[in-house]
């Protein structure tokens, strides 16, 4: 088994993360349990320092928890095995996406799979409305444009799960709306969205669920805020490797 069934239905249990040792131990996440479903958007909200980014980095395989079990629907895994399994299927986007030296086109080309044609970069530029910025040095882009480059990279990779850390922070209303529009297209293709935001009112157009994280615990859970995508059932489960629209 080298793939996660897609659309995903992942259940995370007992996520614990702390820093420091002995009496200096600081508990960041305290037995967090949550679920990620393909085609659905979950907003995780809370104050600064509540553990949102830490949680997202753990889900993205970038940070090891002290403890966590993950049920993929087919098997139950510890985090280390989960991290190997999610390779290529879970993508984490930073609040300020890192742009490598080079043009926007060059940055997008890094996301190309070896089987994808180079023309897929043009499609991604068009999708993210970045065609007129394709030859601009990516490091000079505005925050909103950087976020769109990162989303275009995600669009090329078509991950099963997309994790976004404060993707619209410091954006004006127009840029935020455009980002939400782009995110909604991921939902339509069955990608699960997990968004960390300090503002619980952002993303109301696309969010299905909202979780409140306080001092490392989920203290409030609002579900079914939108009609969830009923078409994603176990009957049409496919693997990511069979579903690369840009190849």
């Amino acid at each position: 088994m080298t793939e996660i069934a897609r659309p995903v239905n992942l259940r995370y249990k007992n996520i614990v993360k702390s820093y420091g040792k002995g009496k200096h131990t600081k508990l960041i996440l305290d037995n967090v349990e949550l679920e990620i479903k393909g085609g659905e958007c979950t907003l995780i909200t809370g104050k600064n320092g509540s553990g949102k980014s830490t949680l997202l980095r753990i889900l993205g395989g970038l940070l090891a928890p002290n403890k966590a079990m993950i049920d993929t629907g087919l098997q139950t895994l510890k985090w280390n095995k989960y991290r190997k399994l999610i390779n290529n299927q879970v993508m984490y986007l930073y609040q300020e996406p890192y742009m490598f030296d080079g043009t926007v086109r060059k940055n997008l080309s890094y996301a190309l799979h070896k089987d994808q044609p180079k023309e897929a970069v043009d499609q991604a530029l068009k999708w993210a409305e970045l065609e007129n910025r394709s030859n601009t040095q990516a490091k000079f882009l505005s925050g909103g444009e950087r976020q769109r480059v990162a989303l275009a990279q995600a669009w090329l990779k078509q991950p099963a799960v997309l994790l976004l850390d404060e993707p619209t922070a410091n954006m004006d209303t127009k840029s935020r709306t455009r980002t939400e529009d782009l995110l909604s297209t991921f939902k339509e293709t069955g990608t699960a969205l997990y968004i960390a935001s300090h503002d619980p009112n952002h993303f109301h157009r696309i969010m299905n669920h909202r979780l409140l994280l306080e001092e490392g615990r989920i203290t409030q859970s609002d579900t079914d805020l939108l009609d969830s995508s009923a078409e994603y059932t176990n009957d049409n489960v496919t693997l990511l490797s069979q579903q690369k629209p840009n190849t």
Binding site: L62, Y110, F140, Q153, K157
Partner: protein
């Protein structure tokens, strides 16, 4: 002043005369230093990368060790290797002392800490976000490594030039390990030291001009390459 001018003039004449002895010395210098830098480069850059992005036991010690090694004089490195390679030393049987191989080993020992420390700094300067992003985008470590290498290419090039500049101009280790044998282990710095001690300044200055020209050429090359990488607003 007149003496300096006339000696410099003689040195330039000597260079353009195609004197085989002087050009052999120059050839040996570049051959040994280039070999040393090519051997040291890959493992040193890999180590710098690991020190920057991975946590493992002894990491801090290694960082401190290589930073300390930057300050160790070339003659001390030469002396250490001399003891190891001398007939009574642990590698005495290999009979490497006063060979070009010994000089290469000495120059590797000198350039390695510079390459590790400077490449470590270069990788660190890109912050963890860059490495995470490269991994996320490529989904394979070798490809992610190449993305990061491209990101820090100018800093790495700077490290290479700094290391090359140090080893091609060092005299202590080359003298001790090579023995300054004509047409075999005599390189630019050992030849300068010898000619100066004999009062033959023209050849020393001629070789010094080569070192200065090389430093100038390498610096200009770096600036040109960095210029190509300069970002321009559209």
């Amino acid at each position: 002043m007149d003496s300096l001018a006339s000696t410099t003039f003689d040195a330039i004449k000597l260079l353009f005369s195609g004197d085989p002895e002087i050009w052999t010395i120059i050839g040996i210098s570049f051959q040994i230093s280039t070999t040393a830098i090519l051997i040291a480069m890959v493992p040193a850059v890999l180590l710098g990368f690991l020190l920057a992005y991975y946590s493992f036991p002894g990491r801090r010690f290694l960082v401190a060790f290589f930073n300390t090694m930057l300050a160790v004089p070339a003659v001390v490195v030469g002396l250490t290797l001399y003891v190891i390679l001398s007939r009574q030393g642990p590698l005495g049987e290999w009979k490497l002392l006063f060979t070009q191989t010994a000089m290469v080993l000495g120059q590797i020992a000198l350039s390695f800490p510079i390459l590790v420390a400077m490449s470590h700094t270069a990788f660190q300067s890109t912050e963890m976000r860059a490495w995470d992003t490269a991994k996320t985008l490529s989904n394979n470590i070798p490809k992610a490594f190449m993305i990061i290498m491209r990101e820090v290419r100018f800093a790495l090039l700077g490290a290479l030039l700094a290391a090359y500049g140090r080893i091609i101009a060092e005299v202590g280790a080359s003298m001790m390990l090579g023995g300054n044998i004509l047409n075999y282990t005599r390189n630019i710095p050992t030849a300068i030291a010898l000619e100066t001690s004999k009062g033959e300044f023209a050849q020393g200055i001629a070789l010094g001009i080569i070192l200065v020209l090389m430093a100038f050429f390498l610096t200009i090359s770096l600036h040109i390459m960095q210029g190509k990488g300069t970002v321009i607003h559209d």
